[in-house]
Symmetry: C2
């Protein structure tokens, strides 16, 4: 004796019907926790549900919490309604959830808030029934989505393969992206090629990012290329981006330990003509971060890598014979004969902007040792007294040398 009809014309009417049957607010989400439908219910609702409906996706913090506490995993594994106690820290009242699955693949979820009384067996059965019905509707949507996604990915890769945009490409891109919004191209680079399984998991994390809006994305070898923009105002774009990048990379490293994902973010651009250049910038960032992991540990954007931007060019073009600097040559000679570390010390002394304490901390030595070495360097070269332009050149010379060495 089913409580619901065999089928509904839309997810909205299904949500409404379940809501009526168990007399509680219902939300239906896709596999990326984006809102698909919700019941209009006059009764009390909790902050998490409001945020979900307003933002048309479940807040990032809630998803994080549900994963960390293992609840989401349980919902997926059980394949039948699970009652979840309230998690007030993230604004979540008590609720029940059921996964919508098709041959092991998650298609989405149905959530129901608890009223004042606990859920009855019957109400949970209704949820289970609802999940079965939603499956058919979601399969249609999912299939359509996947077709669209695959087509868009192919298109995106095509665009990124050609330095100069064709007029037809430009027209289509302009339809996809909002006008006059500062967007960026981000590369997520992995240690191994991105398999479809890994891609799916990466997309999941990407789709749940609240701060950004993804325009297009594509897989290319070991990289996931993402064209996106920040939801914040242009004035706060940079701050918001840096914060997001920091959080996002930490999240990725936690979730994909074996893949060692690394971000590279282009500068902002407003015209789709810049996509190719932006991709090169983003890739330059990941490539340099591969070479200089410590130095660029917290540099994710093209702006942040600073003059490292120039290192590959400098290492390549011998025209500017930058890396044979007499100062470095002399220090290197001294290092060899005296088993010292003057070049390295100088390098980090410059990097840390003359801050002896930080240099000492980084090299795990006594600050006075740094002072001693700096005085030695001064005796040999008096390079520490020069101004930024020359210091930077020496630093670049050291780095260009290392870059070539590794290559």
């Amino acid at each position: 004796m089913p409580f619901l009809q065999k089928s509904y014309e839309s997810l909205d009417t299904l949500a409404e019907a379940i809501g009526q049957a168990i007399r509680a607010p219902i939300t239906i989400e896709n596999r990326h926790h984006q809102l698909l439908a919700y019941s209009t219910h006059p009764d009390s609702t909790d902050p998490a549900r409001i945020a979900t409906i307003i933002g048309r996706r479940v807040p990032e913090a809630v998803i994080e919490d549900l994963w960390e506490s293992g609840i989401l995993q349980e919902v997926i594994d059980r394949d039948e309604p699970v009652v979840i106690p309230a998690r007030m820290a993230v604004g979540l009242g008590e609720r029940a959830a059921v996964v919508i699955k098709q041959q092991g693949d998650v298609l989405g979820y149905i959530w129901s808030l608890a009223r004042t009384t606990p859920f009855s067996e019957q109400e949970l059965t209704v949820l289970q029934e609802g999940a079965n019905i939603a499956k058919k509707l979601l399969m249609t949507i999912a299939m359509h989505e996947r077709r669209i996604d695959a087509e868009l990915e192919r298109f995106f890769l095509e665009v990124l393969a050609t330095p100069v945009l064709s007029p037809s490409h430009r027209d289509r891109l302009n339809e996809l992206a909002p006008i006059a919004v500062a967007s960026r191209l981000t590369v997520i680079e992995c240690a191994q090629p991105v398999t479809p399984q890994l891609a799916e998991r990466l997309f999941y994390v990407l789709a749940t990012q609240q701060a950004i809006e993804v325009v297009l994305h594509a897989i290319d070898g070991q990289q996931l290329l993402v064209w996106h923009y920040m939801k914040s105002d242009l004035a706060e774009e940079e701050t918001a981006l840096l914060q997001w990048a920091d959080r996002f990379e930490t999240q990725l490293r936690d979730k994909f330990i074996e893949a060692e994902p690394r971000l590279g973010i282009s500068r902002r651009f407003f015209e789709s003509d810049m996509l190719y250049a932006a991709m090169e910038e983003a890739r330059r960032v990941t490539s340099l971060r591969r070479k200089f992991p410590y130095e660029l540990a917290t540099s994710r954007t093209f702006e942040q890598i600073g003059i490292y931007q120039l290192v590959p060019d400098l290492a390549r073009r011998i025209g500017l014979r930058l890396e044979t600097h007499p100062t470095i040559e002399r220090l290197q000679a001294y290092d060899v004969t005296h088993h010292t570390e003057l070049v390295t010390t100088l390098e980090w002394y410059f990097y840390f902007d003359g801050n002896v304490k930080r240099v000492a901390a980084h090299l795990h030595i006594h600050p006075n040792t740094v002072l001693y070495r700096i005085r030695r360097i001064e005796e040999l070269t008096n390079i520490t007294q020069v101004s930024l332009p020359e210091r930077a050149a020496v630093y670049l010379a050291i780095k260009a040398g290392q870059y070539r060495q590794d290559d």
Copy 2:
């Protein structure tokens, strides 16, 4: 009744003859105070003469002193023997000197040290006679020299006009330059085109430089191009060069106030194949010093201009769109609305490596004002906390912008 013969086969025999006639040590110099001949005389001699004979040129300090005291000018103007009191500060005992002139042009000088007794009229007449005889010999030498010089200059300009050396050029250059010596190409750039008169005066100063050995030189428009090397050891080459460049530029500025001469020195090179590249380096230095007189006030070598090396490329190639840095844009916007100087302050804060005192001194403001502005900048951008590579990039961005503006 002449005391000397009508002519002598060489300057050496002439010097010997004069020395015999007046029984005092004699030296004959060309117009650049390079030693041409000297008498062998057993009697006491002074430090200046010893140094002159050993170095085959009059020491720089002596020439400087003789110019500053007006003695040399007097010798040239008088056109007859002048008795010069001892100048012990530069190791010069009492002596007599006579200029060797030909139609107003100085060809050289004859010097005679005083014995214990003062010079007699007769002895001075002998000197005058000697100068007349030397004139003929010097004219031959001078004519020959000038022909050689002109030919060498033509050759040098030809070499510098072609980026890739022809085998015949290389062979001839290798004959001219010592092997395995670190040489440099220096450009002396003037505010006006170098006239033959100016060139002659410049060559005079150049020829009297003790620290360097000139291989070749040539005039090209407003520039005097000099290929030279330091007489010091390779290990001290750089230190010696920097010291010399400092002294030499001061000297030039004092002597040629209207020409506003400016030095540009290439990096050192060992192969004549590098001449063209070296010239480009040297010219890049003078060109940048023209654009950034204050910033590069004491930067004379290509090494010293540091990352300014890259500014023209950066300003030219929009490929690396470096000069639109969000940080600078934001600060510029603030500067406009608040009538402040944050960008300039940041620029010098970076240049002076975070030294508030020096920034304040350069901008003629209170150190606390600098601190206040830095805090403002931090509130707006937190750029001051980043490490060298990003700081340098911001600095470059500011500079590339200014470079383009001026152009």
